[in-house]
């Protein structure tokens, strides 16, 4: 009797097959969601030790320089792109460059800065970070400085951190860049968007 019942349960019927497919689809979606969250992780960014200087008027042309070392190239590229995008509404012109940190002198950089006729030079140097268990940089700490090229003075500086999954480096960089630009707007170093 029991055996017969068991066999009946296993016998596929259209209704059971439909329920099975639905459960399998739900399971797959759940597994994908868990995998995506585990691989991606959440992105966070913060600013610390913000120091402000004085600037005669908001900067309109900003040159962004991001040092690569000790991170891999994609981190520096992501941060440069994110800063240029974040500054887009706040400045009339902006340009970015990634440095390896092994340049013998600053001639090439200074030439590029001069050619661009920049008002401000925003320099980001990675000063530390934390590795994830899989080897990527789960947390990156930058020392950020904005120099007024006309007066050679630092007008804004901060310690910038971004952390989270290594698959969301662009998102982490974007968050950090937006926070930096917000802080610069509050300091009147760059103007508010659309003004």
């Amino acid at each position: 009797m029991n055996e017969r019942l068991h066999l009946e349960w296993l016998t596929p019927t259209p209704k059971r097959a439909h329920a099975f497919r639905r459960r399998a689809a739900l399971g797959c979606c759940g597994a994908w969601a868990v995998l995506a969250v585990s691989l991606g992780g959440c992105a966070e960014a913060s600013l610390q030790n913000v120091r402000l200087g004085r600037v005669a008027q908001p900067m309109e042309r900003v040159f962004v320089v991001v040092h690569k070392e000790p991170l891999e190239q994609p981190y520096a590229i992501a941060m440069t792109d994110a800063l240029i995008a974040a500054l887009s509404g706040h400045t009339t012109a902006r340009k970015g460059k990634v440095l390896t940190g092994m340049e013998l002198d600053d001639t090439v950089l200074l030439d590029a800065v001069e050619k661009f006729a920049t008002d401000g030079l925003l320099v980001l140097k990675p000063i530390g970070g934390t590795l994830s268990y899989y080897g990527g940089a789960a947390k990156v700490i930058y020392a950020a400085k904005l120099l007024d090229v006309h007066t050679s003075r630092v007008v804004w500086q901060a310690t910038v951190k971004h952390e989270g999954g290594t698959a969301v480096v662009e998102r982490r960089s974007r968050l950090a860049a937006e926070k930096m630009v917000q802080s610069m707007v509050l300091a009147h170093v760059v103007r508010e968007a659309g003004l």
Partner: protein, 182 residues
């Protein structure tokens, strides 16, 4: 007391060896990515080494470690440690007193931590400038001081790795014909 038979001791020792290798794996000290611009310079025989202190105790260790290899290669030298500012008054005083041909500045650039929070890797920038012109580098290298996967860089064998790093740095400077005996 009964001793463990040899066949029992061997796996035990093997286990200990594998365990210590896992904990200390990949510990290294190396000089990499050397850049030089020495077209118009003679070999330097009198060198001032400036170590920038990042408030860890590593600067003292580096100071002690670099003295030996420079002494062994018979290079006139003086080593000083300074805090963060790139142009401290003590450097100017040392330049006047010692009259070096060049300044080798060693600066910690980044500290990478493991997921447990231990310092896993410390990177330094070693830059050589003519004594009168600290804007124009004539030689540059990146120094990488790496601890094992599970230990803090300052915990195990740091003095040994600092010695190794200093020796490699001096060897690289000699191999590049940047410095030489007086």
């Amino acid at each position: 007391m009964r001793r463990m038979p040899l066949c029992g001791r061997l796996p035990f020792h093997l286990f200990l060896w594998i365990g210590s290798m896992t904990i200390c794996s990949c510990a290294s000290a190396r000089v990499e990515a050397v850049r030089r611009n020495l077209a118009s310079h003679d070999r330097i025989t009198r060198l001032l080494v400036v170590i920038v202190d990042d408030e860890s105790k590593d600067a003292d260790l580096m100071r002690a470690s670099i003295h030996g290899p420079l002494e062994a290669k018979r290079i006139d030298h003086q080593v000083i440690a300074i805090s963060r500012p790139s142009r401290a008054p003590s450097v100017d005083a040392a330049i006047v007193a010692f009259a070096p041909q060049a300044i080798l500045r060693i600066t910690p650039t980044a500290t990478i931590r493991s997921p447990r929070g231990a310092r896993q890797e410390i990177r330094y920038d070693a830059s050589l400038f003519p004594a009168g012109d600290t804007e124009r580098r004539i030689w540059r290298a990146r120094l990488v001081h790496r601890a094992g996967a599970l230990v803090d860089v300052g915990e195990t064998g740091i003095s040994h790795r600092m010695d190794l790093l200093a020796r490699q740095l001096v060897d690289q400077l000699i191999a590049d014909r940047v410095i030489g005996p007086s």
